[in-house]
């Protein structure tokens, strides 16, 4: 196109007139809050990532749209402290690989300019991602990684609202002590755990608790995750025949463990699981008939909806996306984003240092979350010590009842499970 001088002048004027609009659009974009999310979206735990995406999108929807729920962060559209800015989530896939997690975190921070990261299910990945966020000075919220070592690395930007495996395991042993007091026979436990940081940390705590409280360890099996066969391992469990089996397993191994136990004719007297695979719907869909009576530690209980009706509403919103109920993992992911949004709201900024300060000052009463916690208040190490764990017993047909602690319990435990 050939332009004469007048046309050129006009186009220049038009461009000058449009420029401020461009800047306005840019300013608008800056009040959008971009949050990074690192989960396994492919690989053997891809379903965890898919569900996490649904949980976090549900939370983002509740924050961004105007819902009338008694939840911290739910009221009003967007983040009030930033003039109603909307949350935008950027998802990344870590494939259960700590190194991929680290690389993805770096990409989210440098390219997508996220102001905080939520992750990561696998504790091993949370370890590398939180080291990266620390270096860049933005907060990391470990929604559902439960290894106790994670908050003991003097990280300034690490936060975990949920319980860690020491708290969970302590609840298990408290429960067993209570059963013993009632005259039930519990002398020995068997540990069965996978070989990454989740399983090893979990078993270290359980070994210590068993020794302190006088339980004999009949078998202590550290197995290789994603093994094609667990026959020899289950044979050792069977030989030990402990009163309680304590597995710390992800989904694949949980399914294989249960199938192999059935094949070798081994019915453990009781199982108290360190959640992970044993809180996944898919495990109960495939081998649930052999797990009736199983107890798993949890962070969440749908039974709580009787006291807090908004939990039912949140569960419905989640179920519409995911086609399943909220569980141990998805409830924690959901809550993590609401806690982060609350902090950004109070910080009135997307600056990493200021969000960190707001998180450190957070004090959310448990009644304003969907969790059975006393409150959310982070210690100097970033751990919330008031996240009370619960124990849930599987009663069949994808349903759990809360059996411990007594304040949250809606039924007595069936013990032994295979009676």
């Amino acid at each position: 196109m050939k332009m004469n001088r007048r046309q050129l002048l006009m186009s220049g004027v038009a461009a000058a007139a449009l420029a401020p609009m461009g800047r306005m659009a840019f300013a608008q974009a800056a009040t959008e809050v971009v949050i990074g999310v690192v989960y396994p979206m492919s690989g053997s735990n891809a379903q965890i990532g898919v569900d996490a995406k649904h949980a976090l999108e549900t939370a983002a929807d509740i924050i961004n749209a105007d819902y009338d729920l008694e939840l911290q962060g739910a009221k009003g559209a967007g983040i009030a402290g930033l003039g109603g800015a909307k949350i935008r989530l950027v998802f990344a896939d870590h494939q259960a690989d700590p190194q991929k997690g680290r690389a993805e975190a770096e990409r989210l921070i440098t390219q997508d300019k996220v102001c905080a990261i939520i992750g990561a299910f696998h504790s091993s990945v949370s370890a590398t991602v939180s080291a990266t966020t620390e270096r860049y000075g933005i907060p990391y919220i470990a929604a559902d990684s439960s290894s106790p070592s994670l908050h003991r690395r003097n990280l300034k930007f690490f936060f975990r609202a949920a319980a860690h495996d020491e708290m969970f395991s302590k609840a298990m042993f408290d429960f067993m002590d209570a059963q013993k007091k009632k005259g039930k026979k519990i002398d020995s436990v068997a540990l069965f755990h996978e070989d990454t940081i989740f399983g090893t940390d979990s078993s270290t705590v359980q070994q210590k608790l068993a020794a302190e409280r006088g339980y004999k360890i009949a078998a202590d099996i550290k197995y290789r995750a994603n093994s094609p066969s667990l026959t020899a391992e289950v044979q050792q469990l069977k030989s030990g025949d402990a009163d309680v089996l304590l597995p710390s397993s992800y989904t694949t191994d949980a399914i294989l463990l249960v199938k192999t136990m059935a094949e070798l004719g081994y019915k453990p007297k009781n199982i108290i699981a360190q959640a992970a695979g044993f809180s996944e719907k898919t495990v109960f869909d495939t081998v649930g008939d052999q797990l009736v009576g199983l107890i798993s530690r949890g962070s969440f209980s749908l039974d709580l909806a009787a006291k807090r009706p908004f939990i039912t509403k949140v569960n419905e919103l989640f179920k519409a996306r995911a086609g399943r109920d909220l569980n141990d993992n998805t409830s924690r992911q959901f809550t993590a984003l609401l806690i982060l949004a609350d902090a950004i709201d109070r910080a009135k900024s997307v600056d990493g240092e200021q969000i960190r300060a707001a998180l450190a000052a957070a004090d959310i009463p448990g009644e304003k979350t969907i969790m059975p916690w006393k409150r959310v208040k982070f210690g100097p190490d970033g751990q919330n010590e008031d996240a009370d764990p619960v124990l849930l017993q599987y009663v069949g047909e994808n349903k759990f009842t809360t059996i411990y602690p007594e304040i949250a319990a809606v039924a007595d435990a069936k013990w032994p499970m295979n009676a």
């Binding site: 020899a232 050792q236 694949t252 399914i255 004719g265």
Partner: protein
């Protein structure tokens, strides 16, 4: 550990070993025929398991009866993969080995991705079958029926393969093509056709394995990876291209894996298999039954 428990571990290892052999033999066959390592072998297994699951879900027919259909399906898939992909990868002028590796490796990732997209990453499992969940109790040693079935099928398949290779024209054509690809053309054997049938046969064999495995194992887009690594070491141990080496090596891998889990901490149980393989490499670099 008691004698009874030890017998249990050995029996389980033996049955698992026969199944490993069945999974590996297709890989070995294809390699022996044309020196191509199929890196999508585990994904073929996964497709076979999903095919079994899907057919069972739709028809309600027991997986034991579905095995022939799944085998036929995988035969077609194997032949198509050769005709559609590998044939072209073999035309590379330089770095032909690399091109083949990347072609099949890429195929593996594609199949995984498509499976996760279409089948979701949820774990599946076939329930209430004739064999599933039933166990034979021989004096306190438990032998799960699905694995006994797998072991028997494996032995039958190897018997059938022996007959096929030694008694039929197709078998002789396979053997001749692997000996000398140029010479067979002179006697009127279409190399492409033999390769396509070879790929079909190799995939059909892993199809049988998938139909067996689907009865007692979980089904997931990543399930192939769990078994593929074992299949590769089985083929390498038995000798690349040696069909009966795969049988012996599969059984050895199954037994060594089970026994290592008893002697060493179970998290190290794969160590035994790979240590054994390294040992074999020192003595016989081409594997136990490989041609030197």
């Amino acid at each position: 550990m008691s004698t009874e428990a030890l017998i249990q571990v050995i029996a389980s290892g033996l049955l698992m070993g026969l199944i490993y052999a069945l999974i590996a033999v297709g890989l070995s066959l294809i390699f022996g025929l044309m020196d191509v390592v199929n890196f999508a072998h585990g994904e073929f297994l996964m497709v076979a398991m999903y095919a079994t699951f899907g057919l069972w879900l739709v028809s309600g027919i027991d997986p034991v009866l579905l095995a022939p259909a799944v085998t036929a399906l995988l035969f077609v898939m194997g032949a198509l993969v050769y005709l559609g992909i590998v044939r072209y990868a073999m035309r590379a002028k330089a770095n032909i080995g690399m091109v083949q590796i990347f072609a099949t490796f890429g195929l593996a990732i594609l199949i995984q991705g498509l499976s996760q997209y279409f089948f979701t990453p949820d774990y599946r499992s076939i329930s209430n079958t004739w064999l599933g969940g039933h166990t034979l109790n021989v004096f306190g040693v438990y032998l799960p029926w699905p694995q006994i079935y797998g072991g028997v099928i494996s032995v039958l398949v190897f018997g059938g393969l022996y007959l096929l290779m030694s008694r039929t024209d197709f078998g002789r054509a396979l053997e001749a093509t692997r000996e000398d690809q140029g010479a067979v053309a002179l006697v009127g054997i279409d190399r492409n056709r033999v390769f396509a049938l070879g790929w079909g046969l190799g995939a059909a064999l892993v199809g049988i394995a998938g139909a067996v495995l689907a009865i007692f194992y979980y089904i997931h887009p990543q399930v192939g990876a769990t078994f593929a690594l074992i299949a590769y070491v089985t083929v390498a141990l038995g000798g690349f291209g040696s069909v009966f080496g795969a049988l012996v090596a599969g059984v050895i891998v199954g037994l060594v894996e089970a026994l290592t889990a008893v002697i060493l901490p179970s998290s190290l149980k794969a160590v035994g298999v790979y240590a054994l393989y390294l040992g074999v490499v020192f003595v016989r670099p081409s594997g136990l039954f490989g041609r030197l």
